[in-house]
Structures are given as C-alpha cells and as structure tokens.
Symmetry: C2
Subunit: 181 residues, 2 copies
C-alpha cells in the first residue's frame, strides 16, 4: 500500500475551523502520517533530518494549508528552504522521483473573487518546485469561502463547516484511492 | 522628501554575495531606513507594533530578497501575515493608500531558465496583496544569476558581483529619483 505524508502548515490550528475539520476527518485513514509543522517547530527551527526521513518514506506528499495573502504559510516555505537540499531533493542522489505531491488548500474568499486560473498561478511555486525535483505534481484540491476570524464578531460558521467537510470527504476519497503510478 | 523603508528578507545575509552587495551600496542614501527582518526576528516573532510604525512613516516600501524555490523567504511571508492587519493595512482606517511598493529581487538561475512572464507570475502574491491594500505596485527590479553556495566548492564570483553591483546601481538610482505620485 502507498504511504502518505501530510504536512499540515497552519499558524493557529486551535482557532481554525477549516483545516481543523479537514485534519480531524482523516484520523481513521490507514498509512497516513500527519506532521503539524507549526506544533513541531514553533520557532521555525526545522529538524531537517527528521523531515527528510519522513519524506523519504512517503509515496504521496500532501501539503495542507490555508492560503493567506495569496501565498503559503511561512512555516511551509521554511520547510521548502531547509528540507529540499541538494543531493536529497534534487541533483545526484535525489530520492524524490516516483513520488507525488498534492496541494490541498483552503481559501477565505469566495471563488468568484478570483480570476480564471488564478489558483493555478498562486500555486506556481509548488508546481515549479515539483518539476525541479522531478516530483509528480497532482491536480490540487481547493475549497473557497473557508475562513474564520476569532474576535471579529459573530459569524455564521455553517457554510464554512459545510465547505470544509466537503473538502475533507474529497481528500479522504482521493487518499483512499491513491495508487502509485 | 519621500521616506523610504527597505525590508531586507535574507535568511543568511552574512554568507550572501548578491543581497549583501546591494544593501552595502545603499548605505549613503538619504531618507532610507533598512530593516533586516532576519536579524530583528531570528525566531520569527515579529514585533507588529514596531513594523507598523515603520510602515506608517514610509512613502515607498522596498522588499529586498532572494527568490528561493520560486517564492519569497519565510520571514517576509511572516511579515505579510502578522503586520498587514485589518484596520491598518486594509479595511476601514487603512493607512496604506498613497504608498508605493517595490519588489527588488535576486534570482539564482540565469534569465534563460525562466519562461516569458514567469517572474511576473512569481511575484503575483505581492502584486495581489498590494492591490488588496490599495498600494501602488511598482515595476519590480530583478537580477538573474545571483547565487552563492558556501561549502559547495570553488566558484567564480565575478559575474555574481557584477550583476549585484548593477542591481544596486539601478535600485539606488530609482530611490534617488523617487517622487511621490
């Protein structure tokens, strides 16, 4: 069976609605390892060896995060910068070929506020990095309208929860059916 | 005279060739404040109040950084996430209008390794954030082939230095001639 590594990159998962709902729904999935980067590295001091070992074992890497300011959270960029070293992730001796990578992202604004193809363009750094490392870049799973602002007054959380639950179901189904290329 | 704030976001400025050369060349420029985000916040714990005060005073904000993995350094994304708060950078009471923002970036690979318009697409998060905050987004200043890998063997640094010095001259000239819109 394929081994799956999910890297959760959320700056405040305790106060999250969307990403917390998605992660909770994956609790029962077999062969899935979840690494909460913010919890592991609150000071951004990533254990490169531990992350490379986790990466080496995985057939499918899922990047689970909220898009803020049209970009990935800083802890995930730190992961790219520190973990994807020469000789490990690219160049002679790379162990990345035959692995796949999937961006599983939530966006706060409604889909209508993005231009055609904008999500694809916002994920370009991940796609280009995947190409550079000869990783198989999969079609992303993205959900819109998933936001929560603690201390910003009352809001109806039902549509946010519904969207997050639909995202979780889609991701769970994808993982369950994932086969190695 | 216009006040200029340069945010330097480099993970290792001591071992930098390109960004260090660029910053050094700006030492004699008037009305320029340089904030080295990595030196100020080695643990990523940004002083939001101090950053907002620096931002409030500036007419022109320069983001100076190397593009790694097709994206900005994590400390700069942390700055976006923490400093650009509601009521300060956008929404009612925002103080960002009438300010301009300039991305001044170095790229390690030669220009020929990028597709037409790729740099513009890689800077989309900054452009979209600027639009969201009603900041005036300026044409970026970018230089290619600026890289240095300590402990990765001998390399001829002359072309890197020449490219960085040309970048510095261009940026210095832009700053000196910058007038408020």
């Amino acid at each position: 069976m394929s081994k799956i590594l999910l890297l959760l990159a959320h700056p405040d998962i305790e106060n999250s609605i969307g990403n917390k709902t998605i992660i909770s729904a994956l609790n029962t999935v077999n062969n899935l390892t979840i690494r909460d980067l913010t919890a592991l590295y609150p000071d951004f001091n990533i254990d490169v060896n531990a992350e490379q070992m986790a990466l080496a074992k995985a057939d499918l890497i899922i990047l689970q995060y909220p898009i803020y300011w049209y970009n990935m959270p800083p802890i995930l960029k730190q992961w790219f910068d520190k973990v994807l070293t020469y000789g490990f992730a690219f160049g002679s001796g790379s162990i990345m070929t035959h692995k796949s990578i999937l961006a599983s992202v939530t966006l706060g604004s409604p889909e209508s506020s993005y231009a055609d193809g904008e999500l694809e363009r916002l994920l370009l750094p991940i796609q280009a990095s995947a190409n550079f490392c000869k990783l198989n870049y999969l079609k992303p799973i993205a959900s819109y309208g998933i936001y929560y602002m603690p201390n910003r007054g009352e809001m109806d959380l039902k549509p946010v929860l519904a969207s997050a639950e639909a995202h979780a179901a889609k991701l769970k189904s994808f993982i369950t059916n994932f086969k190695l290329n």
